[in-house]
Amino acid sequence: MKYKIFTILALFFILTAKSFALVSVDITRGNLDPLPTAISDFYLDSKLGDNIKKLQLESKIPELIQNNLSRSGLFFALEKKSFIQRPEPAHNKPRFEDWAFIKTQVLVTGKISLEKEGRLRVEFKLWDVVSATELSALAFYTTPDNWRRVSHMISDKIYERLTGEKGYFDSRIIFVSETGPKVDRKKRLAIMDQDGYGVKYLTLGNELVLTPRFSPASQHVTYMSYFKNLPRVYLLNIETGIQDLVGDFPGMTFAPRFSPDGKKIIMSFAQEGNSDIYTMDIKTRVVEKLTDNPSIDTSPSYSPDGSYIAFNSDRSGFQQIYTMKSDGTNVKRISFGEGLYGTPVWSPRGDLIAFTKLYRNKFYIGVMRSDGSGERLLTENYYQEAPSWAPNGRVLVFYRETPSDSSGRGGGAKLWSIDLTGYNERLIQTPTDASDPSWSGLLSGK
């Protein structure tokens, strides 16, 4: 058991540390020998009323946990019909030989009971089948309609216990929903759980909206809107729906992101053919200009400790990635491979910068260290860009476009995720076409 988990982590590490030659893409979609896992149905306390029983949470919660763990690529969920032991005795005292018989190495069990005022107590236990021990047990208290949140939180606890890494399931993705023909595309801000469930639209689609990004510290989102046909950066509170213009600039502002403490917005301001990078303090509204170069400077992204900024500039003649200190000094070019580089995004772990690369008419999502060394390309396609990190820095979400035909039809955009290893590439189902994804932090905090 311990040995098996160690193997997975060791593989993780080897693949992460491996440095590929430029443009030798590792797009092997092989499997990392995922951990066999049995997720038993939970059992319902007999005192639960029929109104709760008909929600079938005893199977829905384990199913959602199973979907999360399977999608991570690190776990292989065994089929429920092979399970020998019933949920209740399995939760109270598993017969480990029954579970070892179906060749699982890990067992998840649970119990749902009633608390006062209609609240539920959802308890889960994680068992090591090989060494016949309990690894962890936790209970969450919630209202029945919040069962998805609880399932995501349990998934995170299991992921953390078995990988030694923080989880990322209790999180959301904000993105741009796209409908209509390419020459008259309707774009709306939309938000959903990280597994694609519960899409809610935040704007009506009356004006073009682009590049939403979550605040790491609050329920705010910053994005770009063509409201009144003036392309500007806005700040939106997704709980109240109140939105504010960011700053008072006499031209287009775009490419916004938050500082790691959520207090500033960093963005580009274009004027007289020149785009430079600015910050605005949200509270004091004090504006600071960070770059002063006649080239295009855009797509800024802070390091997680706030001391550095990665950005995109064509000051060398074409698009490359640069870093600078957060006061604008010490500008250094870090991308030197062949091709064009854009959209640098600093990992929440601080060690890597994800980017988009255009080389020989193909687009790549890749990562490099913050000094530009160790470039690794994760995926190659006709068109893809705008990576955004999962809160644990292990998974990236991005969007990919398919080409339209000569009559302009058939093209589209979808959200995809891929592991930092270059493995486990997955489509994230959305009700409409989708682009510009931004992953939130963990909703339950650190």
């Binding site: 073009l208 770009m224 287009m252 797509s299 074409f318 064009l340 854009g342 510009d436």
Partner: protein, 158 residues
Amino acid sequence: MLFKSLNKVTLALVMTLFLGACATQQATTTTKGEDAYTGTETVKFLADGVPDRVFFSTNKSELTSAATTTLGKQATYLKANPTLNVVLEGHADERGTREYNLALGERRATAAKNYLISNGVAANRIKVISYGKEKPANPASNVLAWSQNRRTVTVKTN
């Protein structure tokens, strides 16, 4: 300075390699790696003989000689109609990252604006807006469409 000119050579080389594989009749390829559209499809007219748009090479915002000819006609027309105001809409093709393309569209629209101003059109009659790659004129995904979409369009606002 040496470094800069080296870069230009590299760029030209890259462009040549890039275009070698996908040249079309309308998207003219020269030894300088210019691939601005030179045809008349998608073009509308502000007035008789005054085309409404100019085209750019990939990743570039320099005005081609065809572009300055068109903008010269626009300047003459605007000076003859002094109450008209215009907005210059800058666009990019879909083969670039969204944010960079917004900046590129602004740079292209500004290049056209500066040419109109240098030809005697009052600056306060001209506004610019960039749509990046958001509003293609030709929705196809091919070299011809991309060349038609790398453009600045002059639109009357009154």
